[in-house]
Subunit: 197 residues, 4 copies
């Protein structure tokens, strides 16, 4: 079973998620920059953040599946499980935004980010299993320090939001986005070697 | 005529259906977990259920079309017919959810599930006809006990909701989701043999 | 230049158009069949009609592009022009539905149907030009009586709606849907011969 | 790394952007042409304009990636950056429309157009870098006078809207659309030579 249709379906869902978040941006009633900032200021910032997250997942998903050779039933469902958590981003983003970063919505947003990270991790594990221990992908991903530090940073953000100050919790969330913004060179390099071979 | 574009179009429609259901989730006005539960508690549960159903259809559709070799005009329309019933899931899910599982909306939801199952059955029949009696697909699907028991369970759920207690009707619906959650190994196995041959 | 990406983009737009129309269906406030019929009765009927129209365009588009060998700049824009008129279907369908088939909305709906038919005709002409006079496609389409009678029926429907009775105008519109529901065997046959050759 | 999935994802996002703008068109409460014009007159005009812009970007994107041979991490992110600005078109179009072309919304719309043009320019630069100085694409694009004059026209429109009269600012915006409506023959010609070679 090839990865084509799984990738096409995931692309479709991610394209829709990334685009419908803009529907949450309310058009200001008045017609000056002040109204724009009041109505959609934080909305725009959270839109940018969630846009970057979805972009990161698409990017990593894209890189990973370049080296995947076979799709099992488990991988199909692990992929849908990941898409499920990502599909909640528009909802949790909108709640956090409309509450002006109140405690509970920020924590819920962090939990959503964490669940997606765990789902991605599970998907990666199942792919490793299907590919076997000596697969090109497994060697390419290597130690995967980004994948290991991200859930810890999400947990830190959740804890900061829950027990200290909601807005402080945003800092580790933004940090994760910045860490991942650089695509994973290791996979890219392995792929180039694979092409060259 | 190849199956590529039919699969791509179906993927697009399923990706949109699975994602726009999240637009039905109302953002809570207040900012605590209690408000989240009150506003979107059942909404989240029904979202998960309908997400799983669409995932199942995508999964089975994906498996089935791996073994389809030719697309006739009848198959194109049977596929659109299936997509039509699936496109109503966001609507019937929202009505059931907003009514807090009132009798009629639960029955209507069940009828929608049943119609989609019948449409899938019709699609499968037309594909069997096009492929011929000795097709790989037909042997792969075999007795198809899941496909036969699902409509019966939907009927049971509709009857329970209509004549006993709406919420009881949900049990057979959930049972169908659980039965299908495991992808059909038979088709998968046949496909692997097909690849190996 | 291949037709792949043009087809993929068109599939995406058509998949979205066909699916967002369901967002126009308002969820009934009350929880019985009477409320369902009152709130969404005509909405469901017009949804079915527009769903069938988009299905027909997808179907014919799909058949036509099977035999297209080259895409020119003119074809790209003629295709976008067709998608533009189709993208207004959710809007004109919703207005007609919410007005309970009032005169002007029915006429506007008919004009929208007519514009899409003209746009399809223009697209077909430009493809014929690009393919040359002896192209397989041109021979396959042949006399194209359906393509010629559809605009006439739309005009008849518009005239009936404008000068006699809005609801009467729906009859020719429905007739066009029924005529096209059968996919064009001629193109299909030519394609099969093309495959066999 | 091939361009397939980047193109498919971009097609998905562009297809959704171009289609959800129609959701901004409010259905008139009354049922005559006067109400249609009052409610959606400018809405339809701005919808057409933004539809054409997205069509132009899709068209140019499509032409450019026909000649792209390798995708780097930088190109992936530059592409997402372009999609981000394009994803704001429905929002800025709706604000401009609902304000009946008030000063600030028209300026903001122009800034959005400008940012997308800059993002496209950055994407093109990164692709040139990846392809190398003697790439087919670079020769095909040549002097790129359209790409150079567009930002200047956007700036002119922004200045006219900000300091003279908002509606006047629309003229250079419309001029850009008209300039680009003709697809870039140079790339097309280079591609044909590439095919012939």
């Amino acid at each position: 079973m090839t990865t084509n249709r799984l990738e096409a379906f995931s692309d479709g869902v991610l394209a829709i998620i990334i685009t419908i978040m803009v529907l949450e941006l309310k058009v200001p009633e008045e017609h000056d920059l002040h109204a724009l900032w009041d109505t959609t200021g934080t909305g725009l910032l959270t839109y940018v953040l969630s846009f970057v997250y979805i972009g990161i997942y698409w990017n990593n998903h894209h890189h990973m599946f370049q080296l995947v050779t076979r799709v099992t039933g488990g991988v199909l469902w692990a992929n849908l499980h990941l898409l499920f958590w990502l599909s909640l981003y528009p909802f949790t983003t909108a709640w956090m935004d409309e509450s002006d970063f109140a405690r509970t919505p920020v924590v819920v947003y962090g939990v959503n980010l964490l669940c997606a990270a765990v789902a991605y991790f599970v998907l990666q594990r199942l792919i490793f299993q299907a590919e076997g221990p000596d697969s090109e992908l497994q060697r390419a991903v290597g130690s995967d320090w980004k994948g290991k530090i991200s859930p810890l940073l999400y947990l830190l953000g959740i804890a900061l939001a829950a027990f200290v100050e909601p807005f402080l919790g945003m800092l580790p969330f933004v940090a994760v986005a910045l860490i991942w913004l650089v695509p994973d060179r290791r996979v890219e390099r392995a792929f180039e070697e694979h092409e060259a071979a």
